[in-house]
């Protein structure tokens, strides 16, 4: 035990060890998922980028045209209105789904009778497929025969065009999107609400905090990480909206609900402009990267400020 072991210099690591690391078999375990991720995510992404630099219809040989597709996009009024529709949808859908989700989650976060039933009912629309939602709402919102107009008529409001009215269609789409998408926010926020330590709430009420003060000082700060996650998640969902548009309006009427991803679909698969469609898709991808990047930069800056502040305090 106490004998001194002469230090021996370790033999130079073999090339195998250098390339494969300490545990070569680890590679075998991560290989299947690596191949899947490479094959199903990264390769198609790279391929789509190359495609965006070509004039390609997918069935005849492509021609390299550099960034001409991107230049054409800059002057394409249909594309810019698709971008506009996407921004409007996102700007409405994200805050409404999070604020609405929080309100519902607060209502459901209490001990009342049949609470399990209410929670299930709120979540049910989320698991319904967009195609089914599309069919359901095209029945309800039919201007002539739909239930929505029948109700409006009974309370004395004029018939609305809903999805058939170019001025209303996008907002109707937001409403349908919220109906289907709010359940996710509710379930995530509800889980986070139940994670708030009860002692904190009790301490607050002993200190005489009212509901509003409790919400502002305890609940919201505790929910911060979850709210930030939801903000990012819902934004990406909204930017990538497609299925609802396809099922409900096919981009119409008069292009009023043509969002970016639907525009990409139309270009690539209706009009055979696969290269041009890929370029449009990459514009969206850059926007999403930029938003993600901005978030990282902002939170890094905030952390630095906090470190600086605590440094001063010390």
């Amino acid at each position: 035990m106490s004998t001194v072991v002469p230090t021996v210099t370790a033999p130079a690591p073999s090339w195998r060890r250098r390339v494969l690391g300490e545990h070569p078999s680890a590679w075998a375990f991560i290989l299947p998922s690596t191949i899947l991720i490479l094959g199903l995510n990264l390769v198609p992404m790279a391929w789509a980028f190359l495609l965006s630099l070509q004039r390609s219809d997918l069935v005849t040989p492509a021609e390299w045209i550099g960034f001409a597709n991107y230049k054409a996009l800059a002057h394409d009024s249909t594309f810019s209105s698709a971008v506009e529709h996407t921004i409007v949808y996102t700007a409405l859908f994200v805050p409404l789904s999070i604020v609405g989700g929080l309100a519902i989650a607060l209502m459901l976060n209490r001990r009342i009778r049949f609470i399990g039933v209410y929670r299930t009912l709120v979540f049910v629309p989320f698991i319904m497929s967009a195609a089914a939602q599309g069919v359901l709402f095209s029945f309800i919102l039919d201007p002539q025969y739909g239930a929505a107009n029948a109700v409006l008529h009974n309370i004395g409001i004029a018939r609305q065009g809903f999805i058939q009215d170019p001025g209303q269609a996008l907002y109707v789409l937001v409403a349908v999107g919220l109906w289907g998408g709010i359940g996710f926010c509710v379930i995530v926020l509800l889980a986070a609400l139940q994670d708030i330590p009860r002692e904190l709430m009790e301490a607050a009420s002993i200190d005489g905090a009212r509901r509003w003060a409790t919400l502002r000082k305890i609940v919201l700060p505790s929910l911060r990480p979850v709210l930030i996650f939801l903000l990012a998640w819902q934004t990406f969902q909204a930017l990538q909206l497609f299925d609802l548009v396809y099922a409900l309006s096919r981009g119409g009427p008069l292009g009023a609900t043509t969002v970016v991803v639907y525009y990409v679909y139309e270009q690539a698969f209706q009009f055979f402009h696969a290269g041009y469609g890929s370029a449009a898709a990459y514009v969206l991808a850059f926007a999403i990267f930029a938003l993600g990047g901005a978030r990282v930069v902002v939170s890094a800056a905030r952390r630095r400020r906090r470190v600086a502040r605590t440094g001063v305090a010390a």
Partner: protein, 436 residues
């Protein structure tokens, strides 16, 4: 050592899995000299037509030992077939024959994997001239035969007799004009009962557009200029046609604008007795008969006595998967479209005969008497015109559809809408705008 064995095994499994995926996709194309040649057939049908087609394929497989047809829908309905085929062509594994909409043929024919049948159909066994002229035209792109007719279709007016009786309107006669049509539609409309005289698809796309073309042709107008370099639908003929439709929708309010993306709602309304007339082809007859609607059919109304209609025939597109499979596919499609099978198909699905000779058989004539309306559509098969087989047609159609919807919703005048559509159409024909 054992570690390496694990790694090697895992790799091997991955490799096998990958090979398995690739293999099963392209499988079924064995060209063994001994066994029969297997060909893949994507029909894109459901319900009645799917059953009828699968019965025919089973019959073919029983009677032909050298070819085996592997039949399925292709996983999509005909509406989505173009998307599916594009993806499978880009991926390099595609079927041997698929059902493709008439307006999609020019686009799929860009691919050199689509067989050029120009020389093949000269063989007497095909009896190419026995197909209707509109069908042959629709199967031809740039002067080359790129498909075989699969379904004959044209538009006429199908009307609900009960609603005509209730409104005290006589059933339409063959020489009716569009003005008569407008009057009738107005009389059949009853807002209180939620009843409309007529409907028009309002979701955009070709379904919205193609109903305008007969109204244009009837006045001597055309979709494109004779040299094909410019659009010509913004002529006075086009404006007069669209104006009439717009007035019906916004002044008379006799048109139900069907915003359902699949255009199915109008048919459901017709089935439930809320719609007096629909412009459709024989493909809706099975649905109407099964809903027990007492219906009649009449050819399209005319401008100045011209009642030209549009042929919407669809096609079998044959792909090149090597000589053996190409030959087998031709053999199968030749059999499928030959007169006896055509007759069986017509009787089972209430569609129109693909071949002139089918329409002359005693069995067909007996059958046509039992299904009201069939004769109206069959009579115009010889004169129905077809849309231009043009790669850019879907884009032009989209521009026109947008104009029509704007007029239907009262957002634009017919002249302005067609001018705007023509401007876009000219740009599309000139190859401007979207890069590629």
């Amino acid at each position: 050592m054992r570690r390496w064995l694990t790694a090697a095994l895992t790799l091997l499994l991955c490799g096998l899995a990958a090979a398995g995926c690739g293999g099963s996709d392209s499988g079924g194309g064995s060209t063994n000299a001994s066994g029969p040649v297997t060909i893949k057939f994507w029909h894109g049908q459901n319900d009645i037509t799917q059953k009828a087609l699968e019965r025919l394929v089973a019959q073919f497989n029983r009677t032909h030992s050298d070819v085996k047809v592997d039949v399925n829908s292709g996983g999509v309905l005909a509406d989505e077939m173009l998307t599916k085929l594009t993806a499978s062509l880009a991926g390099g594994t595609y079927p041997d024959v698929a059902y493709v909409f008439g307006s999609d043929l020019a686009n799929i024919s860009r691919s050199d994997k689509v067989q050029d049948l120009t020389d093949a159909v000269r063989a007497p066994a095909w009896r190419w001239d026995d197909f209707w002229p509109g069908e042959r035209e629709a199967a031809t792109v740039d002067g080359r035969v790129r498909a075989i007719p699969a379904l004959a279709d044209n538009l006429g007016i199908i009307y609900n007799k009960k609603l005509f009786d209730e409104a005290g309107v006589p059933y339409p006669s063959a020489d009716w004009s569009w003005d008569d049509f407008r009057t009738v539609a107005k009389k059949l409309t009853d807002a209180g009962k939620g009843q409309f005289g007529y409907s028009w698809p309002g979701a955009g796309g070709e379904d919205t557009t193609w109903r305008l073309w007969p109204m244009l042709w009837q006045q001597g107008g055309d979709i494109l200029s004779p040299d094909g370099k410019r659009v010509a639908f913004d002529s006075p003929a086009g404006v007069r046609a669209l104006q009439l439709v717009g007035d019906m929708a916004t002044q008379d309010k006799s048109i139900f604008v069907d915003s359902d993306p699949n255009g199915e709602r109008a048919i459901r309304l017709f089935q439930s007795g809320k719609l007096g007339m629909i412009e459709a082809g024989p493909w809706v007859l099975p649905d109407i008969i099964s809903a027990r609607v007492d219906y009649g059919a009449q050819r399209l109304p005319g401008f100045d006595g011209n009642h030209t209609t549009i042929s919407g025939s669809d096609n079998w597109v044959l792909f090149d998967n090597g000589d053996a499979r190409s030959r087998a596919t031709q053999e199968f499609i030749q059999w499928l479209t030959a007169q006896p099978q055509d007759l069986a198909w017509v009787l089972a699905t209430q569609s129109l005969p693909l071949r002139k000779s089918t329409s002359e058989t005693a069995a067909y004539k007996r059958y046509a008497k039992t299904i009201p309306g069939t004769q109206v559509f069959a009579q115009v098969l010889n004169t129905a015109r077809s849309r231009p087989s043009l790669e850019t047609y879907p884009q032009i159609s989209d521009a026109v559809a947008e104009g029509i919807v704007a007029v239907l919703l009262g957002r634009s005048s017919a002249q302005d809408a067609l001018d705007a559509a023509a401007q876009r159409g000219d740009a599309i024909l000139a190859g401007a705008g979207a890069g590629g």
